[in-house]
Symmetry: D2
Subunit: 441 residues, 4 copies
Amino acid sequence: MDYTIEDAKGKLGVLIPGLGAVATTFIAGVEATKVGIAKPIGSLTQLGNIRLGKRTENRYPKIKDFVPLAQLEDIVFGGWDVYSDNVYEAATNAKVLHQQQLDAIRPQLEQIVPMKAVFDHEYVKNLDGTHIKAKDTKYNWALALMEDMRKFKEENNCDRLVIVWCASTEKYIETSAIHETIEQFEEAMKNDDPNIAPSMIYAYAAIKMGVPFANGAPNLSCDIPALVELAKELNVAIAGKDFKTGQTLMKTIVAPGLAARALGVNGWFSSNILGNRDGLVLDDPDNFKTKEVSKLSVLEEIFQPEQNPELYGELYHKVRINYYPPHGDNKESWDNIDIFGWMGYPMQIKINFLCRDSILAAPIVLDLALFMDLAQRSKMSGIQEWLSFYFKSPQTAEGLKPEHDIFKQLIKLQNTLRHIMGEDLITHLGLDYYQDLVEAM
Amino acid sequence: MDYTIEDAKGKLGVLIPGLGAVATTFIAGVEATKVGIAKPIGSLTQLGNIRLGKRTENRYPKIKDFVPLAQLEDIVFGGWDVYSDNVYEAATNAKVLHQQQLDAIRPQLEQIVPMKAVFDHEYVKNLDGTHIKAKDTKYNWALALMEDMRKFKEENNCDRLVIVWCASTEKYIETSAIHETIEQFEEAMKNDDPNIAPSMIYAYAAIKMGVPFANGAPNLSCDIPALVELAKELNVAIAGKDFKTGQTLMKTIVAPGLAARALGVNGWFSSNILGNRDGLVLDDPDNFKTKEVSKLSVLEEIFQPEQNPELYGELYHKVRINYYPPHGDNKESWDNIDIFGWMGYPMQIKINFLCRDSILAAPIVLDLALFMDLAQRSKMSGIQEWLSFYFKSPQTAEGLKPEHDIFKQLIKLQNTLRHIMGEDLITHLGLDYYQDLVEAM
Amino acid sequence: MDYTIEDAKGKLGVLIPGLGAVATTFIAGVEATKVGIAKPIGSLTQLGNIRLGKRTENRYPKIKDFVPLAQLEDIVFGGWDVYSDNVYEAATNAKVLHQQQLDAIRPQLEQIVPMKAVFDHEYVKNLDGTHIKAKDTKYNWALALMEDMRKFKEENNCDRLVIVWCASTEKYIETSAIHETIEQFEEAMKNDDPNIAPSMIYAYAAIKMGVPFANGAPNLSCDIPALVELAKELNVAIAGKDFKTGQTLMKTIVAPGLAARALGVNGWFSSNILGNRDGLVLDDPDNFKTKEVSKLSVLEEIFQPEQNPELYGELYHKVRINYYPPHGDNKESWDNIDIFGWMGYPMQIKINFLCRDSILAAPIVLDLALFMDLAQRSKMSGIQEWLSFYFKSPQTAEGLKPEHDIFKQLIKLQNTLRHIMGEDLITHLGLDYYQDLVEAM
Amino acid sequence: MDYTIEDAKGKLGVLIPGLGAVATTFIAGVEATKVGIAKPIGSLTQLGNIRLGKRTENRYPKIKDFVPLAQLEDIVFGGWDVYSDNVYEAATNAKVLHQQQLDAIRPQLEQIVPMKAVFDHEYVKNLDGTHIKAKDTKYNWALALMEDMRKFKEENNCDRLVIVWCASTEKYIETSAIHETIEQFEEAMKNDDPNIAPSMIYAYAAIKMGVPFANGAPNLSCDIPALVELAKELNVAIAGKDFKTGQTLMKTIVAPGLAARALGVNGWFSSNILGNRDGLVLDDPDNFKTKEVSKLSVLEEIFQPEQNPELYGELYHKVRINYYPPHGDNKESWDNIDIFGWMGYPMQIKINFLCRDSILAAPIVLDLALFMDLAQRSKMSGIQEWLSFYFKSPQTAEGLKPEHDIFKQLIKLQNTLRHIMGEDLITHLGLDYYQDLVEAM
């Protein structure tokens, strides 16, 4: 396999369905970074290092100095939203960032105005938007989105586009017959089939336009056979789903640690309180269902109870999200983990994470935009499992269980980068350090 | 390199300096497992799986079915202690395990009676023991320990021995000239040099006898150039130091997770309360110093502030251990972690771990005993860095920084096992899953 | 008012609807206390002191030495349940107490066998019982319960009876016309009106028999005008409702402290996990509703937002109960309290209470049984508001707001005891200590 | 006793030794309140209500409308400090309040400039100040302070003065012979006796000038027989010691709640992290000793183990303060409370208080200034025990144990106010509500 990577020349348009708290925090952070008043903390592409070679070589370049990514200076932002607020107004309403920071980059933010969204109230009952495309068939909506992309690219003189879904969680639906082949899918769009969710229309439009598409919510979106097949066929990179932030991030950190040590777990209770629009949407049981499915599978894949019935066969896992306005975007999670050790003796771990929802999500949007663009330029088409590091519910090839362990995901990501750049993969074996020493003596 | 591994035939004597809470919990657990009334939860060698080959092959044998380890049935226990209590009495006093469990295996435990210890009150001020070898030179003490080993092996008809240090933390000392070469070291032992701590005498005696030695406390013990050199020369496996349990275990789980995501950390406060003999010993500032050095380095090695000054350059790390009798062996830790994300926004993580000190340590003793024996039979002599997974302060080759990230340590351990068994190392690259699919289409 | 208190002579029968975890823990604890293998910790009547006179007098008798209460030795236990298990069996199933403790008093517990319960599945959907009285009109059920009481009293040679409701929370209903007068109420019972819950039938039967009745669940039960009137008329003491344990106990401790200091509160989120039968019953939204109403009012009454709009006008209060089997009876609560101080600066309090549901409730059952009996012998008929100390949702005279502040409730209780015994009430004024000193100089 | 209260006419000078974080937060808050940009949350005198008469009367006037207090508009601020920064500069350095709030009242704050302090490095090793009075005898220092007061009063045209100590905790000293009588005390001041701490010199000067003196730190200061006697003789109100904020505040809220319910406590571990100047001073063991004594006595007085040996006889109480710069003034406490209930079953409470040191202390300064002035105008001289509500270690008459229970302290405070205003004291008896109802029927 040859990974001749195209240059990251010219402008990269980052288009975002859903210019709410996450997206505006992402955009404001990039703009603030450009003018030197903030740092893109949490972004692997901007701040992360990667070890190359042996430990004793001491080679730890920054990732952005190792692989050819687009520069922040070359990014142009755009998107769609059900409200007509520009990014300055939307960021102000979101109350995530200090107002004085927003004011310092007001001109840059004000000029980013959303395009009219494809929206169906049926999928998100707790939201009402007015800045939406006129009623039409779902297929025609897809064509309209494609035209939006074309125009945006032209008007902003972009070399490439990439799309990252940052809109709300849609209600729960399962894969059905119309999602199986691209023919059935297109037919269903034309017939306004209720199994076609808006996020699928965006994904379809992106793929048809050759634009990489990453999905930050737990909705199916591009995770259906028809669109996987289409992406393969048209050589477009896709990835998903559901940004891994907050409690699930902690879960995929802590659970592998317990599993590493063969400690048993018989209960894991997770409670969340948050008061932003995301919390409001998830207060609807239909939408929470979509989220719950995404959140629950995590532990099962990490603990593999079928391989370890003595340790994880009785695990009771429960996740609750509570809408709690006093906290706004300052999401807080509380986990109680019931574990058992040697001879079955019980122990408990309590984790209280006072986090910020959009602050944790924003750097993921940046990394995905840049890595998806890299993948596309490297001709890595179809599902980008190496980016599962960023997702609660990683999309994988059919029949392949996803890795949820964040550390395996990180190695996967890093070894993928080493691989496409022709560097040795790292196995952490390290026996040679001791053999060399022997010989040297 | 050829890893012809000798068979694990005959009996394995596990000798333990320090038959206190940890050691008696370990022994009782193994005996209870033998008679089927308990399970050795937390032990990788007994319950852990290892993935072999590709994910789709679905090969996850138990480690004990993959590498040739000694059987629990073949283990014989012995040790040294400053109190003359047999293991039943000592376990009863330790109040870690339910009395009815101890009573069920009372005969097995009662027959394990400690040999007289080499002990110097100067190194552990808060302990007073009477079951100790008569005053003599440190060199003669070493000879006496070697004679103990010889006799134990003969009387118990053992094929092999292994030693795991489970005694108290000694006071803080640093490497000095007399630790540099084996000649200087032996000379110093003969002169009763105060820089020779008891744990070094045990290590020396073990190595001289060709017995693998693992150190569960933070004292230097075998981590000095003279003994490393001797181990190499005599082809003996050594490893250390300081069992990784409780708070440090959580730290090496959570810190890599934060580093993985390039989240900044500017403060980490760790408080512990425990009421066992370990807590009492650590109430003496000289002994706490030894522990503190072991605990503090962990974060620095994981976060690498020199590579990541923007994220970890300002990290303030403080560790406190408080003797608190009401909790006994039920150690409890509380961590406050001050992190910052996108644009520098602060967040906090609080972790409250209600653990059990000896319950977490016991399976480590078992795994180390079995893996050290495996290493010896595989002719892997000198420092066993692949076992750093079990240590707060892993011993490494001079000039080589240890890995503290528990996930890298686990991969190192697993890939070492794969390596000596001739299996493919795992890199988590996994691009082939998608290439196969392409070709298949 | 004259409080000539009748002697506590002869036996006191304590009858309990609902011989589940709480009731059996209560009974076992009293029996264990009688034989000297346990102490009735948490019981004010057994272990509490009461200050009499001035601080300098140093008079702190035990409450049981100050007021004439029935002796533990004189208590006889009985009750009704929907399962036919005797108290030994029921306590064993409840898994609250160590089995060896139960075994030590097995004979005493085995001889307590429940009478058949009045039960209507409609009110507690998640329970199914078979040990229930044959279908009949609610009025006839009341007569049958009265006959049960008469027979129990006679067979056990009791001087007096008292009833404490320990059964499950019934589904939510509100006071309606048929609860207004005793005539309407009796008519409704005869007509099997669905607004007559089983707990009302028990309360009615008790009052008619002159037996004091205390209600440990949040159901209305005796808290309806008809039964209040009847209790007054027949000079019977009644009290309720909902034992104050766990999270609400902590809430009525902490909230008055914040109010004392005029600290503002704008959010209070309370989450509970528990895995006992109570948790199962409350997993049904209808039953949780009853509990929620009882739990939510607490903060409003303590903070009085109408008097303190600047401090508590915006308070958002949310309570969640989650059924979580791994914890069994070991209920755990987690509270996040958002407060603000000087100039409005925000602060947070997190409280994690690892409690035991039945262990906290059992001493309340004992105290209520003894104090209700005392009230009856003191001719304090009708609502016993001075016992609001024990209830989440204290029953008060119509139009009178309950005190929820546990400290005011305690003073009320203590001053009531002082009052009926002819001692000075305590006001904590204490200026005289300083005036005496002046004069003495 | 007649409490003819003098009018609060004219200006009240509030003088503060120690214009650091607490004092400047207090002053800024009052100034911000005056111009309407903040509210004095946490201040009982400004926001607290007091119930008068029966519950059904519904009389809850604000305290400031009930007793004649000085108005905020009539307060003039002054003080002494070892640094010459004005209050605007000092508040800016303290980093407690948002800079924009300070800027809004900059002119008012800038004009408050400290007088030179009486300071002795020996008592506070971790502080170095330069803005201090020239070396002289301690007696002459007292005279200089008295002259400062006289001049301040004259220049600011004050009707009355009051002093509230807000400076650092001094090193631990105990009462000795020279503290017994005023003659010995004055003699010792002239001889520069090392047992005369600076805070005593301030207290002496205040009392001699007829200025009420309240002590917010745990140093002895006015809590010595000589100064108590002098205050009595000169009819001056004094009070102390150590503002009750943060963890101890929570402790005196929660402990009475546990005691109320006769729940046993066998362990209470309290850890604090804070990074302000107070934390730095307490990092010196001599100064921490003073604080520790103040903090430890609290539980003993509330639980009265001598009265309740079965519940509190084995209580192990430990308090730790850790200097942790990342948190600045945002003090955080973590408490682990080991309790036991019915039959001795153990339970645990964990409290994590994310507070702000100065935000909690500032309203106490205000209340003490106003209440001490009220006491002085009411001719309540000597120790004001009714203000023990505000102190960790309330000063009381010799031989009289302090009340630490915050709820008894509150009743004491409120009943004192009712008493001096001629209102009925409240006992919470409330039986009449039910008797009236009986008669009315």
